[in-house]
Symmetry: C2
């Protein structure tokens, strides 16, 4: 009985940290998955649809379009992570169970992406096209690193 109470309190504390003072703690796991997938899809829109093809020379580099996409990516790259909570692990998605078992490694991958996007935001302000393209490649590797370990092969 006592153990149960302790577990519940820990769970509530963990959820509280993820969703500080919002209505999110009432949210169904299916909705959490939908939200995190939405954030991933939109990161894909601006990263794989604009930034990476510019860095790879597949579409012309356009400083304004790149800056807009980087600004969106800055916000979007902060959005998916509170949706990866253990209560979502039985909802069908491409997320691998390792997210909930190799938590330190997963957190490191998540932090690396956000750190690389942060550097991209900074370098974009410099206007240095070559440096921006290099940093887009660094973000690409951070995406790939996490997908490699924590997402089902596509």
């Amino acid at each position: 009985m006592n153990r149960k109470i302790v577990c519940s309190v820990t769970l509530i504390a963990a959820l509280g940290a993820a969703y500080p003072l919002t209505g999110f703690s009432q949210v169904k796991p299916e909705t959490q998955v939908k939200w995190r997938q939405s954030a991933m899809a939109l990161q894909g829109k601006y990263f794989y649809g604009t930034l990476r093809p510019m860095a790879q020379g597949k579409i012309p580099y356009d400083a304004n379009a790149a800056a807009r996409a980087v600004g969106y990516l800055d916000a979007l790259s902060k959005m998916p992570w509170d949706g990866f909570t253990p209560n979502t692990k039985d909802v069908k998605s491409a997320a691998l169970p390792a997210i909930y078992t190799e938590t330190a490694k997963y957190k490191e991958a998540e932090d690396r992406l956000q750190s690389e996007v942060g550097k991209l935001v900074a370098v974009t302000k410099s206007g240095d096209e070559a440096a921006i393209k290099n940093q887009i490649t660094a973000v690409d590797k951070a995406c790939g690193n996490c997908h490699e370990n924590f997402r089902e092969k596509q």
Copy 2:
């Protein structure tokens, strides 16, 4: 024949305006719909999940959480609109055909939302809780106005 060519040129020009120098013009209508629905879902996460319940007193007001949600909403409220192109009208979604026929009215509704969110971003910086809550209500009305006219009844 000539008329066809003129129509095609107009269409290309319209798409060019929507997707300047990106890879988006290659995107399937289904993907465009998925992206715009993702942006709508995430606006819902932060608006209906955090901001509106705070304004309505359903969850405690928290200045930091509100500011974060407003920042996300600022970016998200710019993202859906390039996905509402006529080539998506046969893809199943809640978007009503009026979007593509009553274009001036639709554009006005879209602009109103972005304008109200812009005011919310400004007022959030002031830190005036009552003013922020009032502006959240104004954003809510702008969402509702567009949904009323251009989205299937839920």
